[in-house]
Amino acid sequence: MTKKNALLSPIAFQIVLALSLKPRHGYEIMKQVEDDSQGRIKIGPGSLYGTINILVEAKLVRERQQAEDTRRKYYELTDNGWNTLNRELSHLENTLKVGQQRLGLDNKFVGAPA
């Protein structure tokens, strides 16, 4: 993941996406990930902080203290994190285009819409 142009894992991508709105603490990230994935991705604290650790080491995310909430650590995207998110989104956009073209051109294999 630290290699240039390497893709993020699905959980790492969802966490980065969750942090694109504002800095968040652990539980907020978990809830946002669940909302963004329409409930398909539910992560526990172990997986959450394991992935955050990887993202922090890769310098995509950094810790941030909020004066009004000293009990929790907040996390935010770094410049590198923003670049990675943009790259991931454009990759997904390309994949979506390819998928849509394929469905339109070759619909006999996937079933044509009624």
């Binding site: 603490h25 652990g26 539980y27 978990m30 539910k42 992560i43 526990g44 604290p45 172990g46 997986s47 959450l48 902080y49 394991g50 955050i52 650790n53 009990r71 929790r72 650590k73």
Partner: protein, 206 residues
């Protein structure tokens, strides 16, 4: 404090110390936040189920990452190389045991007997010698850095690549050249090869 949080705190002790130091407080806080929003019994049960799956998985993953990191950065190259070499030399023993179980390879006459003797008796001795010498050299290196022999042996996280093949080789050599008392129980392979009929009688007697 809620009993689930207490239990969770105990489970966090199974994480590597460096990881725990960084994230323990935040993980406990997150569980407390989750509990605050779990009002009904069903919500609480879902939370318990999620933690039951997530925590052991995450602990195993972090321990593997931790051991991998130690092996990559702290274990000397000669320990890793000789550990792999010793483990490779032990493999034929297990392959022959399985082959013998399946097809009585070791009982049969030539050409299997020399192969069986090499795999069962000779290679484990070579593996034992290589891993033993490597362990002694590693302990001497540790001693130069001010660590006692006992402290080094207890530091299993960096010595396991050589300690584990040494122990396995020791067990195999012990079984192969060992005593008659285990013969009937485990089927001492050398004795089995030497005198199959007596072994079968011994097994039949129980």
């Amino acid at each position: 404090m809620n009993s689930l949080v207490k239990l969770y705190k105990e489970m966090l002790k199974l994480y590597p110390a460096s990881y725990r130091q960084k994230y323990e407080r935040q993980m406990v806080q997150t569980v407390e936040d989750m509990l605050d929003e779990a009002h009904t019994l069903a919500q609480k049960l879902r939370l318990y189920a999620r933690l039951c799956i997530d925590t052991p998985t995450s602990i195993s993953k972090q321990q593997v990452i931790h051991l991998g990191g130690i092996m990559a950065h702290k274990t000397p190259m000669y320990v890793k190389r000789n550990g792999v070499l010793s483990a490779t030399l032990l493999l034929p023993f297990f392959i022959l045991v399985v082959a013998n179980t399946l097809n009585q390879v070791v009982f049969s006459e030539n050409p299997w007997k020399p192969v069986a003797y090499t795999g069962i008796a000779l290679l484990p001795i070579v593996a034992f010698v290589i891993s033993g010498v490597t362990l002694v050299r590693w302990l001497q290196d540790q001693n130069k850095h001010g660590s006692t022999v006992w402290a080094s042996l207890k530091n299993i996280s960096s010595g396991w690549p050589i300690i584990s093949p040494l122990l396995v080789a020791l067990l195999i050599v012990g079984f192969v050249f060992g005593h008659d008392s285990v013969h009937c129980v485990v089927g001492n392979p050398v004795k089995v090869m030497r005198n199959a009929s007596q072994t079968m009688e011994c097994v039949a007697r129980g």
